[in-house]
Amino acid sequence: MMADPVGQTLFTVVAPLRPGTQGDVRDMLAALGYLGTEPPGGPFGFEEAAMLHFASVFLYDDPVDGWFLVFESNIDGAVEPYLDRLLAIAAARDGGAFLLRLYGHCRGVAAGDLPGLKRHMLDHVQHPQAAFVSAVGLTRDRIRQDAAVYRVVDETLGSGGVPLPADQAQAAVLRALEHDRETAGVWSVADDAGPGALEKIRTVGGLVANVIGFVVLAVVNLLRERTAPEDSLRSDFDMVRTQRQYEDILPTNHMVSIVHLHTDRGRQWAKRCAFGVLRGLVTLFFRHGKLGKIETIHFAHWAILNGGRRLLFVSNFGGSWSSYLDDFTLKASEGLTVAWAHGIGFPRSWFMVRGGAAKGPEFIDWARRSMVPTPVWYKAYPDLSAKIINRNRKLRHALADAKAGRGTTAWLELV
């Protein structure tokens, strides 16, 4: 069996609510109890959507455009088959009643019309400006199977009080993998090969063009960048408390940030180029589990919404929020400044690269203030970190080599 050569898709459905319905929607979402995992009998049925890695549903209040219901998904394959699957699950569960009730609060969704709901969702899909995936090319099922490979290895090696010689340990593990219910016959397959030569050439071309645009606009916008008001407010305790009630339930967390952007043409174009640069860098270089020096992110993306006025960032990351923001300010401040410079109130930057996110406390408060709580969040593999997923993939490759009579027993050190 070959792995499906599918890419992952990260997107949101951003649907405007009818005025006055936000309270009902909030209550509806808060009552569901999706905090990392799906509660038994949860109405979305995420667990049955085999292509789904992470999903979240949240509300945000835009001072100009009103309330929005946002549905984030990180999936294998394309948007439409996934929406078809979600609606089929909903139809089988309750005839779609829950989804229709939820989306019934959105403008332009007719009661009782599941096909209409699908059209509505497709019409409101927002694709990212730039997106990062840690386990490039690994489907949800592959990630779970790799975890099963690790489990079988772990069980076979036992406590290791008196270790077996390496070759005996390897033989025992390979035998166990062929007999375990979860791994037998399916565990040793190759991954997707990554971008082809043509895609690479296209990406490099786009990257070069965006870098040129970025540099030119960084200079053109410098005066505005250096004189834009900087926001030095402290985080509001109450707001932080509300957000944190959904945090650190699992050792993985979710972050939603919605930033207001400066809307003059110079800075808007600069943002487009900045994300063009990030997109190129991610496609060409950050394909092996690390976004720069950060190795805890599963899926993250930026999208420009509301006609360029808002910048959405959603991230599914390992560890606590404070450690994540610590990574941001101490290890990846340049990249974050590229992404967030020209956000209103952002700590003052130079050329969209220096300063900005490097100003730890100010940036952290600013980021906190831009966040909205995530009442519904689903992770398909709560026990796994991005680093563990990559380790499991390596382990499988090494064991597949061993099965084929190649390689060494050095994989034992991966466990």
Binding site: T37, R234, S235, R241, S322, D383, K387
Partner: protein, 469 residues
């Protein structure tokens, strides 16, 4: 650096730079402020008689009978400053206190460590902590009793005690307190800069990492609490650097974290013996050393470093990235991963240094409860960035360094399976030339019995608190 040496500075309370090792016994007395005026009068008297030990007074050659230091919670500062208290100028962690639902999850204060079962601090119903250091437990107790009286406006709450055993070992029997940050500008720092540059490279931190009012690792001043100018009519405080119309309440002060940690010494060694018996050629001490990450005598497990105080802290784990000498998940590695992170060794070391703190813990033996353990005290410029980060993102993070299903084997909180997660109760010992030894189904050996967040102000700030209108 200023002309006055930091470690002899008359404005800084002495405990920051000194462990008072000449005074083997300590009493940590929680109190509430009942009468504000009476309390302020007492504090004024204390300051006038120079009874609060400072860095200056504790640097004198003659050994004092006792030492006294004082720290306050958010409610204590609020009571004393009244209208001049500015909650916004503190970090939320300090204002909310150690016990709060989200914070408990982050710190691992769940399951056996749930604050509901704490002996003190469950409701964070205290305004401050008076710390007395003396030559006997009775003397420490008497010292606190003499000061924390109704006449002085104070209600004495629970007092916990700590002691130093002379050998510098903690309750499991391991040498403790070996690794401390070396604060720039101190005499120690300047000496070691020439004699042991490697040690300074590994452990040197800017003053602002542990003391407010000085640049921190980012090169900027750490955030500092403020009070209104009206609260400081005599102008004893400097203007605040961030809000010029306010006064800097934080300068020369530091945040103090206190946690009482009971240690199941017998259970610990019983299990080590049992697990050693399952292995080939492992000793109970050997397994315990892997969990701690050091030899029992304090020596390093890391390769290429010798034993003894001159050598046992000169490693950075860069030559042991797989943890085959010092396990990745061991206590000392989780609480200070040194040069191993997702950055270059130098970059990782600099990241780690933003999370160092000065530890001032002492052991305790509570005969009534039949309990031994550690009174953990540490100083830092930011509770969130330092103590909470180390405790939450390193020690209690099951995903630390790519690990799985395990937390700090000494101070981490074991958890049963739930919410789609397997139980978190393991410890992995990587081995060279073979595969890992796995200790599974471990219990927690350390249980939290109480704790709180305090601010230990400078002498000038105490003057302000004592005189606030």
């Amino acid at each position: 650096m200023a002309s006055i040496g930091l470690t002899e500075h008359p404005d800084i309370q002495g405990l920051l730079f000194r462990g008072y090792t000449d005074h083997a016994h300590a009493g940590y007395g929680l109190f509430r402020i009942r009468g504000r005026r009476a309390f302020q009068a007492w504090l004024t008297g204390l300051l006038d008689r120079e009874q609060v030990t400072t860095a200056e007074s504790s640097s004198r050659k003659e050994v004092a009978d006792s030492h006294l230091n004082i720290a306050f919670t958010a409610s204590g500062l609020q009571k004393l400053l009244d209208a001049g208290s500015i909650a916004d100028s503190f970090e939320p962690a300090f204002i909310e206190g150690m016990v709060q639902e989200h914070r408990s999850r982050l710190l691992g204060d769940v399951e056996a460590n749930d604050p509901k079962a704490w002996r003190w601090g469950r409701r964070q119903d205290f305004d401050g902590l008076l710390m007395g250091f003396a030559h006997s437990r009775q003397a420490a107790d008497d010292l606190l009793a003499a000061h924390l009286t109704a006449a002085n406006g104070a209600d004495r709450g629970i007092t916990v005690f700590g002691h130093l055993d002379g050998a510098g070992t903690e309750s499991f029997g391991f040498a403790d307190g070996i690794s401390q940050p070396i604060v720039e500008g101190t005499k120690l720092y300047n000496d070691r800069l020439h004699t042991r540059p490697r040690e300074v490279a590994l452990h040197g931190v800017p003053v602002g990492e542990v003391l407010l009012g000085y640049p921190d690792g980012s090169g900027r001043l750490p955030r500092s609490p403020a009070t209104s100018a009206a609260s400081d009519p005599r102008g004893v405080l400097p203007p605040h650097w961030e809000w010029p119309e306010r006064r800097d309440l934080g300068r020369n002060g530091s945040f103090l974290v206190v946690r009482q940690l009971a240690q199941d010494k017998d259970g610990f060694w019983r299990l080590m013996e049992a697990m050693a018996a399952e292995g080939a050629g492992e000793s109970a001490i050997g397994l315990a050393e892997k969990m701690v990450g050091r030899r029992k005598d304090g020596g390093a497990l890391a390769p290429a470093t010798g034993a003894g105080p001159d050598h046992n802290n000169l490693f950075d784990f860069d030559d042991d990235r797989q943890g085959q000498h010092c396990p990745l998940g061991s206590h000392i590695r989780r609480s200070n991963p040194r040069a191993t992170g997702s950055d270059t060794p130098d970059g990782s070391l600099n990241v780690t240094k933003r999370h160092r703190m000065i530890r001032r813990g002492r052991g305790y033996a509570d005969d009534e409860q039949g309990e031994v353990g550690l009174q953990f005290l540490c100083f830092n410029a930011s509770i969130t960035r330092q103590f909470e980060f180390v405790q939450g993102s390193w020690c209690n993070n099951p995903f630390f360094h790519g690990l799985q299903r395990e937390v700090d084997p000494i101070i981490g909180t074991v958890r049963p399976a739930g919410r789609g997660l397997a139980s978190i109760d393991r410890f992995t010992i990587p081995r060279a030339g073979s595969y890992r030894r796995l200790l599974a189904g471990l219990p927690s050996f350390v249980t939290v019995k109480g704790g709180g967040y305090f601010f230990m102000p400078a002498i000038a700030a105490l003057r302000c608190l004592a005189a606030a209108p």
